[in-house]
Assembly symmetry: C2
Homo-oligomer: 439 residues x 2
């Protein structure tokens, strides 16, 4: 029997993830100790209400509402409470006392990351957060360490399981957004208030974290452009399918040079058309995946469960073993790398391809006038397909559906074009404007 130095572990929060972390620590403690080279002694679990129901049983004597002494007695603090406060104060208190901290709190890392990383660096502690993005999927460590010798060009991430489930149901079963959301709620994928998911606030937090890591640049959450999936219709879904695409909510982090020649970083979240043959096109149900394009490594994809108690606990415990190994070895933690410090470019500087669906009056000259309108705004048309929708019986004007695919265009030029289309006498309705990604 090897005798290990014992590390004192405090867990804050015993919800879906916290309860599973406690269970696994108690069930697999010896195994983890052997891998870490240190005993992992759970000294307590800080909770608001010791009598609340849990997904795994926690001995009553471990539970406490007296959180500060728990933090001050710990070598490693695992924060799984979520939310900004009091989580942030507790983490700062832990770091300032020299403890390493593990957190799955994406909202906190995305909004106050730089402050927390600075606090950690100052005392030589380490803040781990593998579980904050894409749940069980190792993505923080690959970006921070494995790709540290490469240049990331672009990340396309499906990082919100709820919306991927909803879009997958719409795509697969032809369900409406409302019905798909209802089944996501019934399955426990969506919360009672689904705003954070469907309006893409959650995905935007993850985009900020991924972009900061990938580009060694602090990317504030406010700079992430965000569109949710609430405007996506069954008709758009069906049309996408017919054209060989699937609509996915993507978190996109990109290093690019804008029209003015400024090299910078763009982080943005929106539903986009993805070719069905793209590896992301095959990511079904509530799964997550992060597709990375790097200068030397080429294309990489990381796929797995993006949420769930045991799944997220796996990532937390991986961080715990890393933290324990570091304690055994000694020395300060590795500082966050934000030395590149690139400018954050607004969405208006980003170029992508677009697919625009219009209802137009079916009469001579319309096509060329529409094409001219795109061209006037500097948007180059790649494909144009027209189908007659109504033949204009009973004296009504005949209408046609026009689907226009563009070459790369800037958001600014595209909005001006759409504005022009909306005011054109030839156009009765702009049905759908979607970006195309993954080409």
């Amino acid at each position: 029997m090897i005798e290990y130095r014992n590390l004192k572990i405090a867990v804050l929060g015993a919800g879906a993830v916290g309860a599973q972390v406690v269970r696994l620590l108690r069930e697999h403690g010896d195994e983890l100790a052997e891998r870490a080279g240190a005993g992992l002694e759970l000294i307590g679990v800080g909770v608001r209400n010791p009598d609340a129901p849990r997904t795994a049983e926690i001995p009553r004597e471990l539970l406490t509402t007296d959180i500060e002494p728990l933090i001050l007695g710990a070598d490693v603090v695992i924060e799984l409470m979520g939310g900004i406060e009091p989580a942030k104060s507790y983490i700062l208190q832990a770091l300032n006392s020299g403890a390493d901290v593990i957190s799955a709190n994406k909202a906190l890392i995305a909004t106050h990351g730089p402050e927390l990383f600075a606090a950690a660096e100052q005392v030589g502690a380490q803040l781990y957060y593998e579980a904050a993005v894409a749940g069980a999927i190792p993505i923080i460590r690959p970006l921070r360490d494995s790709l540290a010798g490469d240049r990331v060009k672009r990340i396309l991430g499906i990082v919100n399981g709820t919306t991927n489930y909803i879009l997958d149901r719409m795509d697969t079963d032809g369900q409406s957004l409302e019905d798909a959301l209802a089944s996501a709620t019934a399955l426990g994928y969506a919360e009672a208030d689904p705003t954070a998911d469907i309006e893409a606030y959650d995905a935007a937090q993850k985009a900020a974290i991924l972009a900061s890591l990938a580009f060694h640049t602090s990317v504030p959450l406010e700079s992430v452009y965000r569109e949710g999936i609430t405007q996506i219709t069954s008709e758009q879904m069906a049309a996408a399918r017919d054209a060989g695409y699937v609509i996915k909510l993507l978190a996109i982090c990109e290093r690019l040079t804008d029209a003015a020649g400024v090299e910078g970083v763009s982080a943005r979240v929106y539903p986009a058309l993805v070719p069905r043959s793209h590896p992301l096109g095959a990511v079904r149900e509530a799964k997550n995946a992060v597709f990375i394009e790097a200068e030397s490594a080429g294309d990489l994809m990381f796929y797995g469960a993006g949420a769930g108690g045991p799944e997220t606990a796996s990532a937390v415990l991986g961080d715990l073993v890393s933290a324990a190994r570091r304690h055994v070895i000694g020395g300060p933690g590795v500082a966050e790398s934000t030395g590149a410090n690139l400018p954050i470019l607004p969405i208006s500087g980003v170029t992508t391809r677009y697919q625009i669906t219009l209802e137009v009056v079916d009469q001579p000259g319309v096509l060329s006038r529409i094409a001219a309108l795109f061209s006037e705004h500097g948007v180059s048309v790649e494909t144009l397909s027209q189908s007659v929708r109504s033949t204009g019986e009973d004296g009504a004007a005949a209408t046609a559906t026009l689907v226009v695919g563009t070459h790369e265009a800037s958001e600014a030029d595209l909005s001006a074009t759409v504005d022009g289309l909306t005011h054109s006498d030839d156009v009765s309705c702009v049905t759908s404007v979607l970006r195309v990604e993954g080409l």
Copy 2:
């Protein structure tokens, strides 16, 4: 301008990977130094022939054939020579001098890993080898660190790009093995002597490395069961496609309990049927992917380029930044974790599903006799489909093709069954025996 401590880097070997590592180190040196927190000074590149052609230009004054002084002057030695000797002696020399070592040498790690890791541990140095398995794909670090708090149940890996390219061509274009191999050679995917790839020696090395890491158990290369792809026919490929499968060369690492109740580890490599809907079924061309089933994390997949100069160089440079950060921090390296020390189970103890294709004499009672033969050997039949092949004109006996899908069966029981089928008067030919994985 920040002043960094300078780390002295020696590169051994300037082939496809080595030349790219040198190029990227010279082109992106400042960026890497900023991320590592240390200057990375390339002190020399050890080669056999300084005048050999390179894929990237290396200044003549960096090249040397005098390798020992180069190693002794380095803080980090990057070994990219390949082969067992002299690579092994050089690595031991480097580790014993206290230098960290980065290696992409899968043959060496698979055969002499334990000796090298022990040498590293003794002096507190670290041996990094992210590039040894699946090229650019981060897989060593996720297994070693991210999943360190979880229990890996099974790994299914497509870890040889050459054979994946060949099988993909056979599947997609209906090419014969010979034609597909010829195009792999023409494209530079296959070497002049393709034995290491098509006989799966290369994949077996990677299976040994992955199994050792995943199960914290030293898995010797000799214990890896190995079958190559040379017996795979266009007919098997077409039949697999019709049945919703694709044939992939899989490296399988599994934690299991054999029939005698012994819990252990199996590492094996063979071509197997994989459901087309499985994430591995979509891995095309020469790409690699590693699918991991973990107790808490669930299913994960890592996908990307498994070979190539710049791609593999990306993994090497990721290791270099990690090594440099460790030098800045100080303290010994993390020892390899082999504490679980599980027994290695032979292939005879492994159970999988099988699909067996037979030519049988088409006469009454054959089906029930065949079914009885499976049952006598303890193999349970799940599906059985028969199609008449020849109607027995001109006095010949009518024959039929029988495809039998089994439930999980042991290799031992299955071989006994196939032996029985071969000797049965009802069976004119056992056309194909393939394992089914990924269900």
